[in-house]
Symmetry: C2
Subunit: 143 residues, 2 copies
């Protein structure tokens, strides 16, 4: 049968692709990818963070964040303004962005339910516990 790779990172990337596909398909109706949805949620939660705040929180490279923000800005979902510290750029959800999140929420939740059902009782928590192992080991973005 179809022998899957034993490389942990390869398996994780593979699972991430498959999982994302379902979210992406659902969110297409509101023109978002699940990556963008998650990013908007992070911005909402952090409430006008800087690029760097987001990088810390998401463990993404600051340069990645900068580029991702451009996409969201072009789509009219966020705005950026220089902060007190004029090196920084503060990211804010636009009105459109907030609405979009409202529209997306149900779609996201539907897929989340699907995966949780397939993971079975306690499956999600078990998975998250195991994934926790990969947190904080790689030195934080705050290099």
């Amino acid at each position: 049968m179809e022998q899957l790779p034993i490389c942990i990172s390869t398996r994780l990337r593979r699972a991430a692709r498959q999982a994302s596909r379902l979210y992406d398909d659902a969110l297409e109706a509101v023109g978002l990818s699940v990556a963008q949805y998650s990013m908007l949620r992070a911005i909402e939660r952090l409430d006008t963070p800087t690029i760097n705040d987001l990088a810390h929180t998401t463990q993404l490279d600051p340069s990645t964040l900068g580029r991702n923000m451009k996409v969201l800005e072009r789509a009219g979902l966020i705005t950026q303004a220089p902060g007190q510290d004029r090196r920084t750029r503060c990211v804010t959800l636009s009105a459109t962005g907030k609405e979009r999140l409202l529209d997306a929420a149900e779609l996201w939740a539907g897929v989340q339910d699907t995966w949780e059902r397939r993971l079975g009782a306690g499956g999600r928590d078990e998975l998250f516990d195991l994934l926790q192992v990969f947190e904080g080991t790689a030195n934080p973005a705050a290099r």
Copy 2:
């Protein structure tokens, strides 16, 4: 504290990034990313597959595979030749590619051990079982 996202795909992508980082750091010594390492292993295992064979096996989009192959070819790690069916391209490990895999194997294994240790006894199998949920649900590449 640092509240992690509950979106399953976001968590998976995040864990995949962190896990990959360690492999990538180790494999840098032989000029490979873990994605490339895994890809070479798949090519080795399938023994002169077509792009499409690889796409099926890895569940990656054929167009993605085509582009990835270009990178490996430019690096001299594989060669491509038209197959019997002249629509297809058959991918073969080059001598350099085989050597590179030999050099990379120990480096890869070191990181694999690290993660397995951190996952604890049975942790890897438990993780793989849970990740299995994401297999085969999204309709296969063979759309």
